[in-house]
């Protein structure tokens, strides 16, 4: 059944009614954890710089720190999604769900995020080409092309990664799915519904602006509302099509 935007949003509000405290509390705890992690990371970077032992590989170390930071933040992001998923599906969630990604094959989630980053990087190719042409041309036209490549990049990134946007939710919903299965499933679910999803996302612009007007305090309530609506969009798509079953694993007898 294709639900309208209003129906999806009403479902989200009903699911979250009385549960905002859990989500907001978890988000605040997560902020503190990430803050502590950042401070520790910063102290380690400062320590390694002062000790002078890693000067030759400082760029490599910076990359390692960045990947570490990105991995932890991504996995905690999945934790928040899991909390919202549990609230919407079971009506309740507990604090332990925040660490869900760490105990449920974290490499699946990291793999999906890494592939999404790669896809976004590849989507930059047309914009990069325009930028190079602008550099070669020079003059006012060249500068225009160089600046024009920025919105081209953003639009390309958005539309190319749009079909895989449900992949993290697929992974949470199906703990047995692998990286490629979740991406394939997301692509299947988004087929013919990309515009509907874009309109759903754009319909939040008004309330998000209102949230920024409240110095970001309102966003604490709006973020779960937004995520919950996207989750109900996913469930609606799943109900209609049903994600493709994972490819059967061939039964192999190890000893034969």
């Amino acid at each position: 059944m294709k639900r309208t935007r209003a129906q999806l949003k009403t479902q989200a509000r009903q699911a979250l009614e009385g549960n905002y405290g859990v989500v907001i509390g978890t988000m605040l705890v997560l902020s503190v954890i990430i803050l502590v992690f950042c401070v520790l990371l910063y102290m380690m970077i400062v320590y390694t710089n002062f000790s002078g032992g890693l000067e030759s590989s400082s760029i490599g170390m910076a990359l390692i720190w960045y990947v570490l930071y990105w991995s932890v933040v991504s996995l905690f992001g999945i934790g928040i999604l899991r909390v919202i998923y549990q609230i919407c599906m079971a009506g309740t969630a507990d604090f332990g769900d925040l660490f869900y990604a760490f105990r449920s094959h974290p490499m699946r989630f990291l793999g999906v995020f890494a592939l999404l980053v790669l896809i976004r990087l590849l989507a930059n190719i047309p914009g990069f080409t325009i930028s190079v042409i602008g550099k070669i041309m020079g003059g006012n036209g060249g500068i225009l092309l160089e600046y024009g490549s920025v919105p081209v990049n953003l639009v390309m990134q958005f539309f190319v990664s749009l079909q895989y946007t449900l992949a993290p939710l697929v992974l949470i919903d199906h703990p047995d799915y692998g990286i490629m299965e979740s991406l394939r499933s997301s692509k299947e679910l988004m087929k013919g519904n990309r515009w509907r999803y874009v309109v759903l996302i754009l319909s939040f612009i008004g309330v998000l602006l209102l949230g920024y007007l409240t110095l970001g305090i309102g966003l604490l309530w709006l973020f779960p509302y937004y995520q919950c609506t996207v989750l109900f969009f996913y469930l609606d798509r799943k109900e209609e099509y049903g994600p493709p079953e994972p490819a059967p694993v061939p039964e192999t007898n190890f000893w034969s």
Binding site: T10, R13, L16, V207, L210, T214, L215, I217, Y225
Partner: protein
Amino acid sequence: MDFIEVNDSITPQSPNNMATASLVMGIIACVTCCCLGGFLFGGLGIIYAILSHTERELRGQALAGIILSVIAMLLSLMGLIFIFAVQGGGS
């Protein structure tokens, strides 16, 4: 002996905390609109009113919250424009 007729169609509404919060924020926004609190509390009032809309119709408290919040935000905006106009005229 006369019995009081009970109208079954009228069922008591369960308390909606979001709608109440919206009304409270609307009132605070109106009180603080002179010091630009209208944007902060008014924005929160409207957000809470939207999030309280879980039934077919908007609660009376939420509606009152929205009206008060919008009035407070308009008053804050007018105050802001007035401040800029005075500053512009003085310089």
